[in-house]
């Protein structure tokens, strides 16, 4: 029989205002096995913890029940407390009487009764608790960063700076991500390339950083401290070592009419190409969908002109297997596709563009050399209408997103301001629902657009854009403040498209067993206190894969993720979770049901010799759980037909004891 101590926390008034804590500790004092029961204002405070430690020693407690906040809050705290008093830290159970009781009840009598029942369940469970000892596992001192945009680059640089090896896996032929396509950055208007390209070069030159460009993660196995990752290096058909990036091939290639992704299809590239001048690595890539040589074996011109002999039409995809201690997800975002937005005539008129396309149209390295020209006729536009929240904050499910894309208010202000500055003869309208500018110097920036640059900010949405035969775009909109309908004859319309996580994020999340929200953004372990960690140990989040973010926020988060990774890699050994599955070999059928439901691949089978009750020897196939890989999710315990698989710390009998206690009124 256990000697159990019950400690009821007031949590100030958080619990005590709704739950009669005296009544709870009094009622639980009479439960079987309970030898000590008390309550205290703040159990987690130093004096509260001392109270627990003293009681353990004085009453020779073997089990502890703390009725307090959620175990997610202070389980770790109290585990340390009981361990300090010489008890195994898994002889502790927490009854959540705050989040699941005092906070959700108004009636004190009801809440008190429920708190007592929850306490009883915890006591019933702790009766069956057994001491558990966590195992340890080694740490591979190398990190993987998935995604080579500004988030991935910054994370990699910071980790490398601490002396650890980092691999960056980037699916595009070059690192740099979305930021390479941006012209200027708010709120300081410095040139994106000027601040990004040195970091790209730093990555390439840092001996601790290894860039896998034009590569994708194929498979992830393992667990925190020792992940094994298969990386597919897609065939470039160019030897990256030999290629000097001279660009001769990209000028001679006869396939000229391929839409250039880097300029969002606003101009064309060849079948062999380097995305842009500052690409890292600066290596040409052959697009196999358009290359004549690869498609039907005719041409071979690039190989002829390449003085380095770098062209290799026989190159194959290559799978590289690498070990990592930590993985950082930095898969970023994409603007949503606007093809369905017929009300804005996006698919109907070339002069209706997305904001990212507008970036390219104003970028010196863009298709127009930085001169803002209408895509349809190459003429200078005189009236430009910017529409914000296209697909953001949208209540219409199926089209658009319910969330705010966060960056659009600021870049639209930037676009409007830069347009007015460069082309003062241009009329610029911005239609908005709200202008959101909560960042350092952000509101000042937006005010400047309105006050100094004379941008017409109009609260209201554009209802319709109609392309007219004379090339003008008729914009019908409402001005909600003036309460009137507007008809504007515009030369261009720019749509601030909502941003969404990259499509590769969901399959990746599955591989990593990292959770996502309904919008496919990765979820953080705690919205406030653990914002750069995924709930899956060893997986960290950097940048817009976790939620819409601008560059300053992304860089800040990238640094934070890096510091978490460094903290992990600096350890020599990791302490595991002892609450893992284990089979009762005598009951195990070896049927593989558990193996098939295990999301972590933690279960395997061995043929083992058994001395049977009838004194014969039998070889039986039985399950083996890899204790380092098992995460204790319990799926196997449910799948096991004979009940041979059980979870330490959450055994079937413990759960049933809790349920029995809850049902016993």
């Amino acid at each position: 029989m256990q000697r159990i101590g019950v400690f009821v926390c007031w949590c100030g008034s958080n619990i005590a205002a709704t739950v009669d804590v005296n009544a709870v500790s009094e009622a639980l004092a009479h439960e079987p096995g309970v030898v000590f029961s008390t309550n205290y204002q703040y159990m987690c405070s130093e004096s509260g913890q001392n109270l627990i430690k003293d009681a353990i020693k004085e009453h020779q407690l073997t089990g502890v029940v703390i009725c307090s906040c959620s175990p997610r809050m202070h389980e770790a705290t109290f585990r340390k407390t009981v361990a300090a008093a010489g008890l195994n830290s898994y002889m502790l159970e927490i009854a959540n009487i705050r989040e699941q009781c005092s906070w959700i009840h108004k009636d004190k009598a009801e809440a008190t009764e429920k708190a007592i029942i929850l306490g009883r369940a915890a006591i019933a469970k702790v009766q069956l608790n057994a001491p558990l000892t966590p195992g340890t596992s080694p740490v591979t001192k190398r990190a993987l960063v998935i995604g080579g945009g500004i988030a991935g680059i910054q994370t990699a640089l910071d980790i490398a700076d601490a002396g650890f090896e980092v691999d960056i896996v980037e699916k595009q032929p070059t690192i740099g991500g979305k930021m390479t396509q941006i012209d200027k950055t708010f709120p300081t208007l410095d040139c994106a390339a000027c601040i990004l390209t040195p970091k790209m070069v730093d990555c390439a030159q840092n001996e601790k950083i290894n860039i896998f460009a034009y590569s994708e993660v194929e498979e992830v196995k393992g667990f925190v401290g020792s992940f094994t990752v298969k990386i597919k290096k897609k065939a470039r058909y160019v030897d990256p070592v030999k290629c000097t990036g001279c660009g001769e091939c990209t000028e001679k290639c006869p396939m000229k009419k391929i839409p250039n992704e880097f300029n969002l299809g606003l101009d064309t590239r060849r079948a062999i190409y380097i995305p842009f001048a500052q690409a890292v690595p600066k290596v040409a890539t052959i697009d196999p969908d358009h290359c004549n040589m690869l498609k039907n074996g005719k041409c071979g011109l690039c190989a002829k002109v390449c003085s380095a002999g770098a062209i290799d039409y026989k190159q194959k995809d290559e799978i590289v297997e690498r070990e990592y201690g930590a993985i950082v997800v930095a898969t970023g975002y994409n603007p949503i596709k606007l093809d369905d937005y017929d009300e804005y005539a996006y698919a109907q008129s070339k002069d209706v563009v997305s904001s990212l396309e507008f970036e390219r149209l104003t970028n010196a390295a863009g298709p127009t050399g930085g001169t803002l020209l209408r895509p349809s006729d190459g003429k200078h536009p005189h009236t430009i209408v910017f529409v914000q929240c296209v697909g953001s904050r949208c209540s219409n499910e199926g089209k658009g997103k319910s969330y705010c894309s966060k960056i659009c208010c600021m870049y639209t202000a930037k676009h409007a301001m830069l347009t007015r500055e460069k082309y003062p003869d241009t009329d610029v309208y911005v239609f908005y629902i709200d202008v959101r500018s909560p960042g350092k110097n952000y509101d000042e920036f937006y005010r400047r657009a309105v006050e100094e640059y004379g941008v017409h900010y109009i609260k209201g949405m554009v209802g319709k854009v109609v392309p007219r035969s004379d090339g003008k775009l008729l914009v019908q909109a409402s001005d909600l403040l003036a309460n009137e309908q507007l008809h504007i004859e515009a030369d261009m319309v720019v749509l601030a498209a909502a941003i969404e996580p990259d499509k590769s994020a969901r399959p990746l999340a599955t591989m990593l067993t990292a959770s996502m929200d309904t919008n496919d953004f990765f979820t953080e372990a705690h919205a406030k206190l653990r914002p750069v960690e995924s709930p899956t140990a060893g997986i960290f989040l950097s940048g817009a894969c976790q939620g819409p973010k601008d560059i300053p926020d992304t860089v800040a988060q990238a640094g934070a993720a890096a510091s978490k990774v460094i903290g992990l890699l600096a350890k020599d050994k990791l302490t595991g979770n002892p609450c893992i599955a284990h089979p009762d070999e005598w009951m195990c059928n070896g049927c593989s049901s558990c193996e098939k439901v295990c999301p972590y691949g933690a279960i395997s089978y061995v043929d083992k010799e058994f001395r049977m009750p009838d004194r014969t020897t039998a070889i039986r196939r039985v399950a083996v759980v890899n204790e380092a890989v098992c995460q204790g999710c319990g799926a196997c315990t449910v799948a096991c037909p004979s009940g041979a698989m059980d979870l330490k710390g959450f055994s079937n009998s413990q759960i049933m004891a809790e349920v029995d206690a809850l049902c016993k009124m």
Binding site: P507, T510, M511, S515, M516, D517, T518, W586, M587, C588, N589, G590, C591, S592, S593, K596, V597, C598, P599, Y605, A618, I619, R620, R621, A635, A639, P641, S642, G643, A644, N652, S653, M656
Partner: protein, 324 residues
């Protein structure tokens, strides 16, 4: 067919390809068939039978038999091969130690069914076309198979062997059976009617465990009903709750693994149509996860016990109104 099978068994025993033969033998009465292992030609000639009473599914016996020294010849009916495959999938049978000879089946009747039709003093049985000709103390009686077969054979799902090393007789086909008709009928009942139906059936349960003991899916090293730690062991059918829960727990345990061989209903001394519980699961699995027949092969993954990286997270399912 019996002669062909004995000849085949003799041949394989003689050549040393196998050292045992799993088949059927007659018990006290001609319809009282028992699965049996034969180790010699003499035993085969004396006891081996294969007739219209040999409904017993032999696959479950191979769990133990395949782990013994040497190879065993097993005669399996189409129905039995589903169970055999399912047990292979669960690593319960060692395939290398079994030589499977597929034998045809035109539906197996049993003493109970015939007696219920008023046939007494049964001495033998043979098939003539669509009828059974039963030899009795009182002369020959002819019964149409449609009247004299149990439900499991009338709604036979397949005459095709899913696995074999050798086939005696022609290859059969998977049938378009109407095995879910009764399930549909029960589904259409109101909850109260349905509850009354099952109470009426299950109240007869005497908790003899015959259904569990014969079931090829119930092959656990230690059944939860025998495991003191499970909390459900040693319970008697003392009240309606126990009567119900035993069968419901059993149906859940075999869900997705039951091949619908119908042995549970065959052996039930109280004639409870237990296979209908399992069929309901099979029908639901077909509906929710796509057509799946346990025992059809040994490689596909069962929908109920499978983790797939593409599985939708519960939060997503609920977030999107339960749609996948």
């Amino acid at each position: 067919m019996q002669e062909m099978m004995i000849a085949k068994a003799k041949e394989l025993l003689g050549s040393g390809a196998v050292n045992r033969v799993l088949g059927w033998k007659t018990g006290e009465f001609v319809y009282d068939i028992t699965p049996a292992v034969f180790t010699s030609v003499e035993e085969l000639e004396k006891d081996f039978v294969y007739n219209d009473f040999c409904g017993n599914n032999l696959s479950k016996y191979l769990i133990k038999e395949s782990r013994k020294e040497g190879k065993i010849l097993a005669f399996l009916k189409p129905c039995d091969t589903y169970s055999f495959n399912q047990l292979l999938k669960e690593h319960r049978i060692l395939r290398d130690n079994v030589y499977v000879v597929g034998v045809p089946c035109e539906g197996k009747t049993d003493g109970e069914t015939l007696k219920a039709k008023g046939v007494k003093g049964i001495l033998g049985i043979r098939t003539e076309g669509d009828s059974f000709v039963v030899d009795t103390l009182y002369g020959e009686k002819t019964l149409a198979k449609a009247d004299a077969l149990p439900e499991r054979c009338l709604s036979c799902k397949s005459k095709k062997h899913m696995v074999y090393d050798e086939l005696l007789g022609p290859e059969g086909e998977v049938l378009d059976s109407h095995r879910f008709d009764m399930v549909e009928k029960i589904e259409k009942m109101t909850p109260d009617e349905r509850f009354e139906f099952w109470r009426g059936e299950l109240s007869r349960c005497i908790r003899c465990n015959a259904c569990r003991n014969v079931c090829p899916a119930c092959s656990c090293e230690k059944c939860v009903f025998d495991n003191d730690a499970s909390g459900i062991a040693q319970k008697a059918a003392a009240d309606s709750f126990e009567e119900n829960m035993f069968h419901i727990i059993r149906a859940f345990h075999v869900a997705g693994r039951c091949t619908d061989c119908g042995e549970c209903s065959r052996v039930c001394p109280q004639n409870i149509p237990l296979h209908l519980l399992n069929r309901k699961f099979i029908k639901d699995i077909d509906t929710f996860y796509g057509e799946y027949q346990a025992g059809e092969d040994t490689t596909t993954r069962a929908p109920l016990t499978n983790y797939d990286p593409g599985d939708v997270e519960p939060s997503i399912v609920y977030g999107k109104g339960g749609k996948k």
